[in-house]
Symmetry: C2
């Protein structure tokens, strides 16, 4: 009998219970043992829930689960950072396999927890931490056994993609689109991780570390979000027959790599440009297999629970792909050298806009001035982003009053 | 030591030898044993080859490989049908694992060879038979452990997709596009399997059988190809702001399914519409995970060899997903009941065209007549395809003188 300790009974935790219940017989035939959720960590035992679950299984005491020698495997879907990290560590130390959906924990402690799991000869799996229901961690780990991955990029955050989709299709302003996405349960009450790109950065950190077989730190991934985008930007971008997406990109060449998260203006009919609502798309390029792309629902109760149950099956059947140890190539970050073409919009007083226009022309930054009315918007030649940051500094523009996106059209 | 018997040293076979050579150390570390291609079946031992290989390993006698008790695993990339089938069967009977890229064999003998492998407790894997380098067989087998698959569709044949891409982008006629694709090595000297849809049908037979956990026979998949498409069709389709792709589609509902291979007219900016050249795209919808899409190069030396080496790693590490036995649901085929909107073009004498125009109006088949000049082309209301076959019969139209595509716009 496989005894599971489930940490968290929110949306995803409930989905896991439902899948394991509904497909109980099939899954037990498959893994040739009984599957039993023996204990569930909750905040409030008496809370009304949508599913039937034996109250005796519920506990508010994490140690009742971690110290229970009958529990073989922990599924962590409680959210947060420090507490789940300690729980996962303790569980591995106690000889339990661990599955988590927690991208914050994985992004911060990937190497440590992977190493610990290896020492204890246990699994530490986290398919649900990136791409929701889309299988991406496992396929990537499989492909790196045959391929050198040269590039990985993705639309990795459902919330920000939903907001950009709504702003574009329904001409909504940012705040209204955000509110709708919160109403649908996509965005958190505090959506900063989604809209500032931090969530995308965590996922890119995880994917690029696996892809490049070297630790790619979050601090080495430059990060711009979408919180300052407005209707003028959407109108300007549409005027370029384009669309805008929050993309995470990491590219390696020789021993150098760059990695960034930023809004990117794309042809509206390109593959990435066509990914709408809360969907995710990840593409990577291997030297043997060429480009592979994976598309799926980036979040949601059942897709996320599906990814966790996939990991559970692999652990129980012992079918998870093996990998050689990370090669620790000590790749050099060259973000500082990266140059691209950009779109920039600044909203400020008329006088300053005119000065900015002079400045960007004098400094040979601009390729095309799109407008100088309500705001000034322009596209650049291929430059370092630092030159745009210099504009902002020079004219003391508030972070909410400008928007920068890379041009990939 | 893992001893491999390689059957065939053509393009894909050569690619396998190269990958195993170049990544020898990594792969041997990974699977914790030496990997040795011990014998290779070829047609001509003295043929000049692009790779260095010890001539003593080459043989023209299949039994020298199959009867060799030191050989643990067979990779079949020789092509054909009867001979590779017998080789695979014999190899499994002799207790060897088998990997094949041969979609014809897999389509015809999937159940028998799967069953035989199971009896012998050996692997019979065929990732390379569908989608080239794109992982699709394994992800699908993983998802069916959690999901009921409701629909699967794909652009599954690189050659026909390349031809349609060239006809559309370069305004080539069919014969010229076919010649270019043959020059690039995509199409066989006899391209009938590609252009008549038979190759797509085989792959759909394989995927839908796995997806629906029931044997979906080729004879239950209706099949139309692209061999009669001409420049008029491309022009008409472009006039509808659309594009045309050869799609395999299988949909199940309750205990009923329909499955077909046919040209489909799609919005040119849709996901399937955007897949160009020899690329493949497969989408399937599960009740838990939602829609997943997989994109990759549909053919080619290294992508195909990549898929085979993936299977090899899974066999050696014993990490291939387990599945419960097919459920043999005895699904009912309802292809006959399927109704859709269609585009049809018929090229014939003026007199007959006018009679056809009268016929399709009288029989309330048509929704819109696109042209009645060089040829007659029209779109239909939602009808059974049989009504269009009736038109062809009634006016005794030669199969090369008409083209039918389903409308999905």
């Amino acid at each position: 009998m496989l005894n599971i300790g489930l940490l968290g009974l929110g949306t995803v935790g409930t989905g896991i219970v439902q899948i394991l219940e509904e497909r109980k017989q099939y899954l037990e035939n498959l893994v040739k043992q009984e599957i039993n959720i023996s204990k569930v960590l909750v905040k409030d035992i008496d809370k009304r829930r949508d599913i039937k679950i034996n109250k005796e299984k519920l506990t508010t005491d994490i140690y009742e689960i971690i110290e229970d020698d009958n529990i073989d495997l922990i599924i962590e879907v409680m959210g947060g950072l420090d507490k789940p990290y300690h729980c996962i560590k303790e569980a591995l130390n106690k000889g339990k396999d661990v599955i988590t959906a927690n991208k914050a924990v994985v992004a911060k402690y990937l190497e440590e927890l992977t190493e610990l799991a290896k020492e204890r000869n246990k699994f530490f799996l986290y398919e649900a931490s990136v791409g929701g229901g889309m299988p991406i961690i496992k396929p990537l780990k499989e492909q790196i056994n045959i391929n050198e991955i040269q590039e990985i990029k993705g639309i990795l955050n459902g919330t920000s993609n939903y907001i950009l989709t709504k702003m574009t299709s329904d001409n909504l302003d940012f705040e209204d689109a955000l509110k709708i996405s919160q109403g649908l349960g996509y965005a958190e009450a505090n959506p900063i991780d989604d809209i500032e790109g931090y969530d995308t950065r965590r996922k890119l950190r995880i994917l690029s570390t696996i892809a490049f077989k070297d630790k790619i730190d979050e601090e080495n991934i430059s990060c711009y979000g979408i919180s300052s985008i407005n209707c003028d930007d959407i109108r300007n971008i549409k005027g370029m027959n384009s669309t805008v997406k929050l993309l995470g990109t990491a590219v390696v060449n020789d021993n150098k790599y760059y990695a960034n998260v930023e809004p990117v203006i794309l042809n509206q009919n390109s593959y990435f440009g066509k990914v709408d609502n809360a969907n995710n798309l990840v593409s990577f390029v291997g030297d043997v297999v060429g480009e592979l792309r994976f598309f799926g629902e980036g979040a949601g109760k059942f897709p996320t629970a599906n990814a966790i149950v996939s990991d559970l099956i692999d652990i129980t059947a012992n079918t998870y792909p093996r990998n050689c140890i990370w090669e620790n190539k000590n790749l050099n970050n060259i973000n500082q050298l990266y140059e691209g073409k950009y779109y920039m919009r600044i909203t400020t007083e008329k006088e300053i806009k005119d000065k900015i226009e002079g400045y960007i022309i004098d400094n040979r930054i601009t390729e095309n001035i799109i407008e100088n009315k309500d705001s000034i918007a322009f596209t650049t030649k291929s430059i370092s982003k630092k030159k745009l940051e210099k504009v902002v500094e020079t004219f003391m523009i508030n972070s909410q009053d400008y928007f920068i996106a890379r041009l990939e059209v």
